[in-house]
Amino acid sequence: MKRTIAMLVALVLGFGLAQSGTLRVLLSSQLSTLEPQNTTDTDSAAVRYQIYNGLLTMTASGQPVADLAQSWNISDDGITYTFTLRDGVKFHDGTPLNAAAVVATFNRLLEPDRNTSGTAYFKPILASVEEVSELQVRFRLFEPFAPFLNTLALSTGHIMSPAAIEQFGESYGEHPIGTGPYRFVEWVRGERLVLERFDDYFDGPAPLARIEYRIVPEASTRVALLETGEADVILRVSPDEAARLADNGHIVLETTPTSRVMFLAINLTRAPFDDVRVRHALNHAVDVRGIIDALIGPDVAQADSPLAPNVFGYASIKTYEHDEQLARELLAEAGYQPGDITINLWSPNGRYVQDATLTQAVAQELEDFGIHVNIRLFGDFAEYLVTGFIEDRGDMMLVGWAPSSLEAEGGLYQILHGDRAGQFANNSGYNNPIVNRLIEEARAETTDEGRIAKYAEAQEIIMEDAPWIFLYAQPVITAHASNVHNVIILPSEQLVLRTTTKE
């Protein structure tokens, strides 16, 4: 009898303890996969960041710092990087982290058939990876690439277990093995995913025993679940809800500026949008400041550059003030009346916070100005990408671009370099040879000042060319219970729970 009672007490206590040691995080959408190389979507990153480590990682202020790599050495010509790995690090499957593992990971990434948004960060720059010794790896680049360390800190660069690669191949994503503070337990697709503390984590066991992720597609339900105490952390809260939650003593709101710039890409291949005066007019016709104030709040700045302020290389250039008179004059110069212009405006719906609302708000402004706007909203983001970037293109398309590397390279190349004109994600078709050259030269620059100077010049030209209606850099709002601490959101919008505790 006494033993039974003791057992029961232990059970209840244990259950209670386990309960308090479980963090419940809500995600909004399907996770595509849990392997690092095939995807870059934010929701699965919220899981992957707890399972894996990279050679380097990002701090909350956007600096790349050592993670699995203890130290490194860059050759004078900027082409060779030699990393020394930490000793004694283990994967979740017990195998040791060593140079061979790093090599296996990156060789897999560089496979010719593997072409994803993740590999696109590495393939153009990384020539080879080789093992130098048990704990030393050498990376050779094609050309000097200053942001390489930032790139290694991306989730695509997370290190995978070679034994698991061998065993699972392409289904690695369903049995993810990493070196991170939490290990994978189970995944019921579309519903929940469970992680458990990895006791042999090299930096010491993490504070929480378990992390449970649940998929709840409905934003207001997620907020409600947080309010009723059934969830601990929710991501990407809309500013409207945040305003309402601000008074709730049990909930803490964290607003993090991110590298995500929201803009409306203008299709430069179509008249009248090929005329820069028309594009200037469009920028002046919309009261961006007013929209930001109404949708988010007065603390968010209007975009004055194609880059967000926390991105390396950002330079403050200029904002397009709301001036309808000027807009009309510019249009007249180009030979148009507002009524002559029709814009087919496309936007995703539900992909970015407030995306459809933002688009419609801009459309309203343009309509008030006299331009006729046809809005098309895409509930399915994949469809938006396929229809909008491949099959056809609207006259203007809403895009929210966030370089996770927090580097001007990531913020400019894929969306504004001529090489990518007409492709994902430079769908305005922007191709300015001077800007192209500046971006390429900046890569090879050896000093920070040199790079900053080149990027600044490029940004000036881009602002002047106005291939977009510039909007703003979007902050991300995270909400968590007040008994949860150290929920870290990187400026790349990634969720890091390594040091998170719950009372």
Binding site: Q30, N115, T116, S117, A120, V188, R189, G190, E191, R214, V216, P217, E218, T221, A224, L225, E227, T228, E230, G379, D380, A382, E383, L385, V386, F389, I390, F424
Partner: protein, 304 residues
């Protein structure tokens, strides 16, 4: 014999359903190969995927393969989840069943209860009330009711969870949303059914013998009056499932009804096919069972 006949009748219906599903899914615009490959993949990759899925073969050949596979239970793999469709369907079906059972219980309890009361108190305000309750139930948008229930019970009062799945408390609001509609119609039906039975000779006889009304009610009336109610349930199944789609979506209930919409939005052909087929099958089988039960319980009953 009747059972056999009904079974045989169901077969061509099933085949027609598979055909319709197959054809309509093929008609959905959008290239599934491209959707799976993603917008960044090269054309070669897309072609490879298309071959892999067998989408480059003539439609008729695809249909034949489709039918052959179905008969072995192979419904293909979901484009989105990458797992076998049958597995996905069977994984979620119990949740919907669970919800449905709870909702039916609520419908029956409230419906029969109110229906009986109003039949007994015929002509009074309560009687009128049933009618209005029934019509209101059918007229209310289920998503609206669901959202209001969430606001009142989950957020403002904090008594019940706002969504999700797990404990009996998660079941209450969705089951209530789903069950209240049926309750009204069942109430009306019960009422008219009881009234009809009350007129019957054997009931009058029982009452004239001096038996108490309540005993009469229990022993004779209810049993016979409830038979048509069973058929009503069968009829309501279609509307029921429609409401389930919305209910599961709003409450985030991990059932199969919700998947039908998400599968369409995801252009997940195999999953759309599998889900619709499965639900149609369930529907046909349930109707069959209800009809058979009905004829078994009372072979005297003729169809109007």
């Amino acid at each position: 014999m009747y059972v056999l006949r009904r079974l045989l009748e169901a077969v061509p219906v099933l085949i027609a359903v598979t055909f319709i599903v197959f054809v309509s899914v093929r008609l959905v615009p959008g290239d599934p190969a491209r959707t799976i490959a993603g917008p960044e993949a090269g054309d070669a990759t897309v072609e490879a995927i298309r071959k892999d899925l067998g989408l480059d073969r003539p439609v008729l050949a695809q249909y034949v393969t489709f039918m052959a596979r179905i008969s072995t239970g192979d419904l293909g793999n979901s484009y989105y989840y990458k797992t076998p469709v049958l597995q996905e369907v069977l994984r979620r079906f119990p949740a919907t069943l669970y919800l449905a059972a709870a909702a039916i219980v609520i419908s029956l309890v409230i419906g029969i209860g109110i229906g009986t009361l109003s039949a007994v108190m015929r002509g009074s305000l309560a009687d009128r009330g049933t009618l209005i309750f029934a019509i209101a139930g059918v007229s209310m948008p289920s998503f609206w009711l669901a959202l209001i229930l969430i606001i009142v019970f989950a957020v403002n009062l904090g008594w019940l969870p706002a969504g999700g799945y797990g404990t009996w408390r998660h079941l209450i609001l969705p089951a209530l949303t789903l069950g209240l509609f049926g309750a009204g119609t069942i109430a009306r039906f019960t009422r008219s059914s009881i009234l009809e039975v009350l007129q019957q000779d054997y009931v009058r006889t029982a009452r004239s013998k001096g038996l108490r009304f309540r005993a009469v009610l229990r022993k004779h009336v209810l049993r016979n009056a409830l038979i048509p109610v069973i058929t009503l349930l069968g009829l309501q199944l279609g509307a029921f499932l429609s409401r389930a789609v919305v209910t599961e979506t709003v409450f985030g209930w991990p059932g199969i009804a919700r998947v039908t919409v998400t599968a369409v939005l995801d252009r997940d052909f195999p999953l759309i096919q599998g889900t619709v087929l499965w639900l149609a099958l369930v529907f046909i089988v349930t109707n069959l069972v209800v009809d058979v039960l009905y004829s078994l319980i009372d072979p005297r009953i003729r169809y109007a």
